[in-house]
Amino acid sequence: MKVMLVDDSKTMRNIQKGILAQLGYSEIEEAADGLDALSKVGAFQPELLLVDWNMPNMDGLTFVKKYREQGHKTPIIMVTTEAEKSRVVEAIKAGVNNYVVKPFTPDVLGGRIKETLERVQAA
């Protein structure tokens, strides 16, 4: 399973990598913002993306919109401190499949990843 982590914080990417490793996912690509992610998705062809919202250069919501505009159906989980309901709705409208609010426990992120992949496979 190829997973792309899009977060401007290396700390968060490392924490997410650790959780993904526990789930058995080790094929990881990292991007520091939306622009970086857009430049890497073509070569990496991720099967799942974890995307932060607040990032410099290009924020996560803009990235999701642009990625979906390109026709990609790959599941995206927004992992963000943006916890307001209106923000969640905005993200879902933009094409996000699931949502995790920081701070999170490893169980919550792991559970949300499994749930998202199961939902996509069932669709």
């Binding site: 968060m12 490392n14 607040n54 916890a83 920081k102 701070p103």
Partner: protein, 158 residues
């Protein structure tokens, strides 16, 4: 600033420390910030804009910050390491994000974090912005959450 504006920051700080560092936090009595008041050695800073304008500063003595980063990242990092600043920035990001979600009906944006490392530094907010210092302590030492903000009267309802 009234006490109801402080509660979201107190709750969010406790939540972040318990969830990410497995550390219960004891919160002391918030005090009006007397400027210019030196922060601790390491400060994570986030700006608030929108219906509320302000600054959130989470400030630690170096030893407390290093222990917090170690618990957060699972690595021992010196304060001069860029990854150390990144971790402190992410902590203040989570605290600010969690707090802003509790201001119902208000549209608030948070900036990307900045981190200052250096003994005796002072963080200035906008002039005339009233600030409150929330003293906090946990098993790895003391730290503070400093909140300075202005709530605009004509804030739009969500």
């Amino acid at each position: 600033m009234d006490s109801s504006s402080i509660t979201p920051f107190v709750q969010s700080t406790s939540n972040v420390f318990e969830m990410m560092l497995q550390l219960p936090v004891t919160v002391g009595k918030p005090e009006l910030k007397k400027e210019p008041e030196p922060a601790h050695d390491v400060s994570g800073i986030i700006g608030l804009s929108g219906d509320i304008e302000g600054l959130v500063v989470v400030s630690f003595p170096t030893s407390t910050a290093e222990r917090a980063v170690s618990l957060f990242t699972g690595e021992t990092l010196e304060a001069t390491n860029p990854d150390f600043a990144d971790a402190i920035g992410e902590l203040v990001n989570m605290i600010s994000g969690g707090a802003k979600a509790q201001f119902e009906g208000k549209s608030i944006q948070i900036s990307v974090p900045s981190v200052v490392v250096g003994t005796g530094h002072t963080v200035f907010g906008k002039k005339d912005m009233k600030g409150v210092t929330i003293p906090c302590s946990c098993d790895i030492g003391e730290f503070s959450v400093e909140v300075s903000m202005v709530e605009w009267v004509n804030a739009t309802a969500a």
